[in-house]
Symmetry: C2
Subunit: 404 residues, 2 copies
């Protein structure tokens, strides 16, 4: 008789964004005359850059001719893409990454969810609070999170590291020693980031206690300030303790195209075993590669024209963030983030809970945001807005919020 | 201190096809003058059909304009694709599948590897022998396979169901009762298939013992004979016990484009729990959707033009299979399959082992095939050739083999 994986049954409610999607769909159905603006899910709105469109057309044509048709991609991705990544994202910052340390995937989400498979079930996981839900949920599904306590909204076997205005949203080293540490900088959801010096403290700590850091750098392209780390490997010793996840989604508008990569350094060991060949085995067994045309599109991002066009797009969203920060401050809100990341993290007014503010904003201003409590208990009383809307919608939302 | 998932360390050697790839690369390096023909990995060689190319261009253009740009796809896939799948692959065969039972993915491999996550670690898995390696390997990685015995080449906690000429390569019901049963028809690697009547026996058995069947129908488009099942849901009661995996890779040449789907019927329960919402949660958490342009390409397959163009391509490969079957028979080989599937399964001559024949064929005829023993212990003494080569290469290989 087949038995279910009952860890799946422990998951709390629906996945956050699916849940919000359903609520918004219902509101729209009941209010067909209202123009709802979404600053909720972090999805881009600008079309793909011209050079990416051209490259896609060119590589689609290749797929239509026998001599240039491409079947299965190499397990870890095409070398043409992996080499421009190394050159553009690492060598340029003085970081030495070799080609077989780069794993091309279909966006950060799959690897962020699956990377925990490399580790034994009895490892203790530490996450920031608030946190991107996939880190915790994927560990719940694997049976690593323990039991959920409804009162505290915490899993018994997860170490929560509060990120608040008091610590500038950079977690302190926890009292209990973790085995796996998830860090995301620039941060989703708080929109803040970490300096290279502070990240070095985490790297040194991980090496000392032999923990592995899973470093999500999906928003790296939004960094504006000089002292922030663009990759964890800028820190000394990081190749001995850290896996880095990167994405084309938010830097190049690939949310609907799907492309990302994971760096697993060969020096990185766990139980005296190098994780790089194990992750290669994971790819070889459970993944059949990212579409050729999408990998070519990724390559185009690193051309001179690509860089220029992409920068324009990032500047567009950064300007949205600026407009939001200024407008919300004028409206009397306490706001954080938005300088090195496309997210604004705001304190809800009048001690509203995050969900109260969600409904308030949806009903009174027809704006969709994300309740901070959806990201963890410390997110209660906070709210996330994204800068990924159009400029016009962003302006309009701020005007609507000012009028509340 | 971080501990590794030591189930990964139990895996035997490299993944079969990665391993063959390395050996062939080495041979080519040492023999740059030799024209090596690959009939090894089941990768297509014909370019994408014109209607797919046109659709890709059109949808790429949509991604380049603000009004038609698409970001994240819906969790389970776009409805435009899911509805043509239901209509084309199920309604047309009298099978009633609802839209929220269809999960669009990036090809069969990811779901074939991940689907076991839905089940508890202490389930007993049954597989055909020989078998597509992903089923067993993904269960090894999850810790469900027990220990490996080098002498028998078997995992202690896996039930192996021999498929040989004696049972026409359709497994008998095993003596020990399994909890999860992997079936693949038309079969990879043997190239044979199952009749609807015999599949009904398996469905009835699974319902009786409350096992779940994971039915891989990746090669369904190659069925030529009337009495074969095109989907397991043609069998009565299958929606209560079976998950079906389908792929566009081999039917429509999508190995480099990546598209497939999984059917998880809402009626299917395990430990009294419906698996459909759990799999939806898996998608919502660990997968961020298949590229919009690829989903549009999949939709094009179901148009009248699409069907006509795809049929021509399948007929091309089927003709290769026919040429191979006839040629190999003339050359004195015992051959199986090739009628309802794009694979030929042959008995190695002179009692060679599968790997002996691999090197013999590579060195003497410069042809790459796949050693049967790579698919399981009963595959020893057999060899797989694919019909996915070009017609010219297929003809040439057969001539080379005849001359041996």
């Amino acid at each position: 008789m087949c038995k279910v994986n009952d860890n799946y049954l422990k998951l709390q409610g629906r996945y956050l964004f699916s849940s919000i999607g359903k609520k918004v769909a219902k509101f729209k159905e009941n209010n067909p005359d209202k123009k709802v603006i979404s600053l909720g899910i972090g999805d881009v709105t600008q079309p793909l850059a011209p050079v990416i469109i051209d490259t896609l057309h060119k590589s689609v044509d290749e797929m239509g001719h026998r001599d240039t048709f491409k079947g299965y991609a190499p397990d870890l991705g095409y070398e043409f893409l992996r080499s421009v990544i190394i050159n553009g994202d690492y060598e340029s910052r003085g970081v030495d990454i070799s080609i077989d340390e780069v794993f091309i995937n279909d966006g950060i989400n799959s690897d962020a969810g699956n990377i925990q498979e490399l580790f034994s079930i009895d490892n203790k996981v530490a996450v920031c609070d608030p946190v991107y839900p996939v880190y915790v949920d994927s560990n719940v599904m694997a049976g690593r999170a323990g039991t959920y306590d409804k009162a505290t909204q915490m899993w018994s076997n997860v170490i929560y590291m509060p990120c608040t205005p008091d610590n500038n949203f950079v977690p302190d080293i926890p009292k209990e020693i973790p085995d796996i540490i998830y860090l995301c900088f620039p941060n989703n959801p708080t929109g803040t980031t970490i300096t290279k010096d502070k990240l070095q403290v985490w790297v040194d700590y991980a090496n000392k206690v032999k923990a592995v850091i899973i470093y999500d750098a999906a928003y790296e392209a939004y960094i504006s300030e000089d002292n922030a780390a663009h990759t964890i490997y800028e820190c000394e010793g990081a190749k001995k303790c850290a896996i880095e996840l990167k994405s084309f989604s938010k830097s190049s508008g690939f949310t609907g195209l799907r492309l990302g990569y994971t760096i697993v350094p060969k020096e990185l060991k766990c139980s005296e075993v190098s994780l790089n060949p194990l992750w290669a085995r994971h790819y070889g067994t459970k993944y059949n590669g990212t579409p050729y045309i999408v990998q070519r599109a990724g390559e185009a991002v690193y051309t001179e024209t690509g860089r220029r066009q992409i920068k324009k797009q990032i500047d567009y969203y950064k300007n949205n963030a600026k407009v939001m920060l200024e407008g919300l401050r004028k409206a009397g809100y306490s706001v954080y983030g938005g300088v090195n990341a496309p997210y604004i993290w705001l304190k809800t007014p009048n001690n509203m809970t995050s969900w109260e503010f969600f409904y308030y904003l949806l009903e009174k201003a027809n704006i969709v945001g994300t309740p901070g409590s959806g990201f963890g208990p410390v997110g209660e009383g906070y709210f996330r807005l994204t800068a990924f809307g159009t400029y016009e919608n962003t302006l309009e939302s701020i005007e609507r919020i000012k009028k509340l």
